[in-house]
Symmetry: C2
Subunit: 530 residues, 2 copies
């Protein structure tokens, strides 16, 4: 595989373009395919200003061959080989999924380790937001009471209590933004000694410690479950957990029935609400931000518009001293050689290799492989295979050095660009990024998905203007303007950066917040259920 | 391992007992351990009417040695060896978890196949309930609009729409009991070609076909997900699915934003509500019942009180022509030789062996084994190991012949006693039993769990009077009266049977219904996430 550089310089378009003019985007000068930009696609016979003539109807966001490609020859996009031609391809042909034979994933034993560590970009001084300072040094962007649960058995009861807390108590504590139950499908009926069981347990622990919960979690437990409160959230972690009791155990003998359990939950919740209500936003350095980057429902524009713009914003955040999390193991696996080369040092590169290897083995135990990733929608959106998807996905990581790698559900305390290993599945990735300490989330989408989380604001960035216009009340940023020439990657990157600061400060309401779109937490449990 | 018989004759106590008299329950004449019945346990030195004297303080529901047991000798309960003594045990000793070395699980290659098929019990004629007849021959016990979802991405949007449907539309359709969203963590970000992926897919399909949804499901889809509506719920399955469109696809181009998506969901929902509202309950034979039996939060009383009473009710249901589902592979694994012997024929026995073998391999792939099952609460409740738990668990299956075996998530159409293979995890088991076609659920608990499902009424049966009294507004039936001598297994069995008929008819509200305790669906996905 040839080593490609994804710099924003290759991605900039040459200026404003007539919307009726047929056009394509070639990402890298070495590419022998490009993607069609025009909404609705283009018909066979269309002639471009370059002289290229389409031999097929090609849908929007799909690939056209810029030159003839012999059977077996490399198909190049982003300057890297995304596959070899399964047939003789003519100039102007639609290059479809079945026309590519994907190369094997990079061999983890021979990837370059910190061989091309980039120089750090110049610091960005003076950017701040209004946040809630926590005793542990983290900063909240919202002020939320989180009720953690050890086991799924208590979920319905806690849900009932939360409805009453929101109706009867929360209105009296106006500085508290929300009350949320962290419910899940774990805690019992699982093999807690199986390899990997530490992942869901630490995820639940670290979700409780998310900066937006202000160091004031409370715990609802059943009593007889396998995952006991002291294992999930040891009292030594936070001063507030040393209060006795910080746990409501439904099976405790003093509860004479359901109404007593609900009353106990409401009483402990009110003690927490009183403390949270006294908190005020203060001016905090942008370095207090922990921004999780994710994509979902990707298309071929993802790697051209939204993800490079998010990558530019990532670099701005890193320059401002913040933490940027990027994730989605199965989507970066095929670009891992680019990332290991960019690692800050040898150890960081090896940690990345280790996470990739663990996931390879996890998939192989389940008789699956990385080809399971692209969805029918990805393919309809023009992404032929996981290599092409990966090249687009890593664009979210900008060009900063990779400073740290964390395992699924681990808390991240490093500043700079961090690979927080997660599956690509949107809700599992989001849940694990919350556990890592995320206090702002940026989500790019090409096909469109009405994603939202209860614990942090989610800024949704569309890869295409047609989606941004249609989903006017769900999409926060239109990165499709990059493909139409109405904006540059840098401009959209700055727009995202400023929206992060305003949203983190509570001065901007994202569409997911407006509608209260709160997807459930989804744990990553590699072990069996019993 | 000696072959034990669990008949109710050995379980009957000798009549009403003075609550202050020290007492224990020996289940089978060959047992050399018994369990302490007195609330709060008994102290060392306590003398029973049998002459036995306790050498240790023994908690309620824990085991006492009825005679000396040499190190390495069998410890027998339910007439079967639940372990071998890890030390020399004296008469009157508390026999604790660590005092038993569990025997290996029965070898699946040498279990008896239909060698002791019991005679069918005499039919019970004339029992009926008021139900909703469906076109496919099934009968609903409730009249619910179910909104199926193909993928987790739509869950928050569907949740928003359901809140509005319940507030704005449902009050105009008073014959419809509820509107529920069947949300889950599946549909994308999963390896759909991995072995086992057919399980969550058919589970979602068959959940949509549950009798309580009246053959009127609708589907919410995103558009780009891996699990497409036509795979989840083919239009050929039900006449109503041939209506065009029966699916709301959020990504469809005619939706100009979130409010349009919600409007489309509400419009299709209203069409379904109109049809459901015209339905009326009619008198149906008890043979239309499909009753799922489950236990959760078990203790040592489970196998003495609640489960045998449920087993008696199971036999009544089978005699009345109904379907009884029992489940929980990891809890019957150690009693499988008793069940294969009871199978109606050789093929049914082999199907049971096949499901057990599949699960052994599934656990082994994840480096877990059956010892992962008992929870700390089970152990605190007196259950030493999975063998003892299994013997108590299979008591739910009564003494009828085993007429069929189904795989996880498969629809069951056989009458009689059916083993519907599921994990023991309460919510996964409940979800899979709903997919099997369950229209009534009976749940036994010793430690106590506030369990409930949205799709069917759940009757909760306590193993101990102390739990039933404390959880007066959660427990529907107190089977602890069997241990105190205030009722017989037969009496509680009939009480459960009659409560099933009244609850199925909508004439009795279970406590879970009263509080609206609706635990989330939990799919069984043996494959990896991506
Ligand atoms: Ca608010
Ligand atoms: Ca993605
Ligand atoms: Ca994703
Ligand atoms: Ca159980
Ligand atoms: Ca169970």
């Amino acid at each position: 595989m040839s080593e490609g550089q994804i710099g924003d310089s290759q991605m900039k378009l040459r200026g404003r373009i007539d919307p009726n003019e047929p056009r394509y985007v070639r990402v890298h000068p070495n590419d022998n395919v490009a993607i069609i930009v025009n909404a609705g696609g283009l018909v066979a016979g269309t002639r471009f200003s370059s002289g290229l003539v389409l031999t097929d109807d090609v849908p929007e966001a799909h690939k056209v061959a810029l030159s003839a490609i012999d059977e077996g020859s490399p198909i190049v996009r982003y300057g890297v080989v995304i596959g070899h031609a399964a047939r003789a391809i003519h100039e102007g042909d639609w290059v479809m999924e079945d026309d590519l034979v994907a190369p094997p994933a990079p061999d983890l034993d021979s990837v370059p380790l910190a061989t091309q560590t980039p120089a750090s970009l110049p610091p960005l001084e003076g950017y701040t937001f209004q946040g809630y300072r926590n005793a542990d040094g983290t900063v909240g962007t919202r002020n939320i009471l989180g009720i953690s649960t050890t086991v799924q058995c208590v979920a319905a009861t806690v849900g009932y209590a939360v409805r009453r807390i929101k109706a009867e108590l929360l209105p009296r504590y106006p500085n508290v933004d929300d009350v949320i139950a962290i419910t899940h499908n774990y805690g019992c009926g699982v093999a807690m000694n199986a390899p990997g069981a530490e992942i869901p347990v630490r995820t639940l622990r670290n979700l409780s410690l998310n900066p937006n919960l202000g160091g004031a979690p409370m715990v609802a437990s059943l009593g007889c479950e396998k995952l006991q409160p002291a294992q999930m959230l040891p009292a030594s972690l936070l001063p507030i957990l040393q209060e006795n009791p910080y746990v409501v155990r439904l099976q405790d003998e003093q509860h004479m029935g359901f109404e007593d359990m609900v009353a106990a939950l409401m009483e402990l919740a009110e003690r927490r609400l009183i403390a949270l209500n006294d908190r005020r936003r203060v001016t905090c350095s942008a370095s207090g931000l922990v921004v999780g980057m994710q994509c979902g429902g990707s298309d071929a524009f993802s790697g051209v518009t939204a993800n490079p713009a998010v990558g530019f914003a990532s670099d701005l955040l890193v320059r401002a001293g913040a933490t940027v999390l990027f994730s989605e193991v199965t989507e970066v696996r095929d670009a891992v050689h680019l990332l290991t080369a960019r690692a800050a040092d040898h150890d960081v590169a090896l940690r990345l290799v280790q996470e990739m290897r663990w996931y390879d083995e996890y998939l192989s135990r389940g008789s699956a492989d990385r080809s399971a990733n692209p969805s029918p929608g990805n393919k309809k959106g023009g992404l032929a295979n996981i290599v092409e998807k990966a090249m687009g996905s890593v664009a979210k990581a900008g060009v900063s050095p990779l400073t740290a790698v964390s395992g699924p559900g681990e808390r991240v305390t490093t500043k700079g660009l961090v690979f927080a290993a997660t599956p690509a599945s949107d809700f599992i990735c989001g849940t694990l990024q919350l556990a890592a300490g995320m206090n702002m989330h940026v989500f790019t989408t090409g096909r469109g998905t009405p994603y939202g989380l209860a614990m942090v604001p989610v800024i949704k960035v569309a890869t295409r203007t047609s989606l941004a216009e249609r989903w006017h009340d769900l999409i926060d940023v239109d990165a499709g303007r990059i493909a139409t020439g109405d904006a540059t990657i840098e401009e959209i990157g700055w727009e995202i950066f400023h929206m992060i600061l305003r949203s983190a400060s509570g001065e901007h309401e994202t569409w997911a917040e407006h509608w209260g779109l709160h997807n459930e937490y989804a744990l990553f449990n590699p072990g069996p259920v019993t």
